[in-house]
Amino acid sequence: MSLIDLANPSRFLALTARALPWLAAATVLAFAIGISQVYLAPDDYQQGATVKIMFIHVPAAWLGIFAWIVMSVAALGTLVWRHPLADVAAKAAAPIGAAFTLMCLVTGSLWGRPMWGTYWVWDARLTSVLVLFLMYLGVIALWRTIDDPAQAARTAAILTLVGAINIPIIKFSVDWWNTLHQPASVFRLGGSTIHPAILVPLIVMAVAFTLLFLTLHLAAMRNEIMRRRVRTLMMLQAGARMGP
């Protein structure tokens, strides 16, 4: 079965109906392993138990970026191949990506309160994640503003690709801006010198988050396809009521 066969929504729905329970079970299993490992992981000698926020915070940040990459690939599918499923994939990924980004921001500021003494600092990383979150909201707003699904998909696809080019530039600019204003004081994980006792649970949690994203994404795509079917049926019904 190739990618083009999935353009048939019925086939996609049938396939995902079979795959989703397995994916959901794998997600639960990965979270069970991940959370138990996080529970057993040692506290940081400086940060104490708050370091465990990292096991949610860092995977959420990765997934926030990963969702934009998924949207960009889907945007190419929309603009280049006119793949109908790409529209659905892009639309379904946006709110999930925004949710992960928001989770990253919220856990980050909860972590910052005990560590830095404030919920928010204009640190380069925080700021660029905030801008990413704003761009997610912009894409969602664009999706919701245009009524016609196909036109909304193409317009949002262009914005997604422009964002994909701009996000690294924004990240780089914010880094420059921050180092200009308050050098040193920037929070670091200490490069790659993370102890395996911390690194292994982190990787397991990242896998669990990725599985969670895939599960939610496929479920949201199914919902979107069904929502479009309902929309078409209602329009047909309205057309029939109006008479020929």
Binding site: L79, V131, L134, M135, L137, G138, A141, L142, T145, I146, Q151, R154, T155, I158, L159, L161, V162, G163, I165, N166, I169, I170, F172, S173, V174, W176, W177, L180
Partner: protein, 222 residues
């Protein structure tokens, strides 16, 4: 080439004669700068320190507000459809339109900025630095805004959405515009480094803006 020149002359003429274009933007800029001391107090030293940031924010907002007339009026009277079907490449046509828009809205902001710098207690050198960075940076604002204008041109309630889509993309321009101005005034960073990056950002937006806008307009036509 003659078609593009004709388009440029037409847009300039429309901007000057229909009225409300260039001077309203400058007026808005003036009002924003006037409001600032009311909000942060009449302390001249503080105003001088914040001057470049205030001028940049004012110019950013003024050029943002002017964006809805970049393509919307042509969409309303149907001339945008003519431009779309013309043999001239759409990418070049939107470059010319954005350039004309910058000449009539961006350039007046640049020219008026030294005058507004006086209100903010900026020295001549500082005002010159801000004007120079605005000259290098406002084209980037126009060409980034061009993308937003093309994406929202067919929407009836696109005004606020346009701002929401465009403003996050202007973060780098704002950062390097203000950084270059401050570098020229107080240092310690040499002026050339942020200013060079600001010019690079303008050149990048000069490429990405028209390409994305042309794709958006073609998609919107279908």
């Amino acid at each position: 080439m003659t078609a593009l020149c004709a388009l440029l002359v037409r847009d300039l003429r429309l901007a000057v004669r229909v009225g409300g274009g260039a001077l309203t933007g400058v007026l808005f800029f003036l009002i924003v700068v006037t409001l600032m001391p009311f909000a942060i107090g009449p302390d001249l030293a503080l105003l001088a320190r914040m001057g470049p940031a205030i001028l940049w924010l004012g110019a950013l907002l003024a050029s943002l507000l002017a964006l809805d007339r970049l393509l919307a009026m042509d969409h309303e009277d149907g001339s945008l459809d003519l431009i779309l079907t013309a043999p001239v490449p759409l990418e070049l046509a939107v470059v010319v339109k954005a350039f004309a828009h910058w000449l009539t809205t961006g350039l007046p902001l640049v020219i008026s900025s030294p005058l507004l710098g006086l209100l903010l207690n900026l020295e001549a050198k500082a005002s010159g630095a801000v004007a120079l960075t605005l000259l290098a940076g406002t084209p980037a604002l126009t060409f980034i805004g061009l993308i937003g204008a093309a994406l929202t041109v067919a929407l009836r309630r696109g005004g606020l959405l346009l701002a929401v889509l465009v403003l996050p993309l202007t973060v780098p321009v704002l950062i390097f515009g203000v950084a270059a101005s401050n570098a020229a005034i107080t240092g310690p960073v040499p002026f050339g480094a942020p200013f060079g990056i600001l010019c690079a950002l303008t050149l990048i937006s000069l490429v990405i803006g028209p390409l994305a806008a042309a794709v958006a307009l073609r998609q919107g036509l279908e």
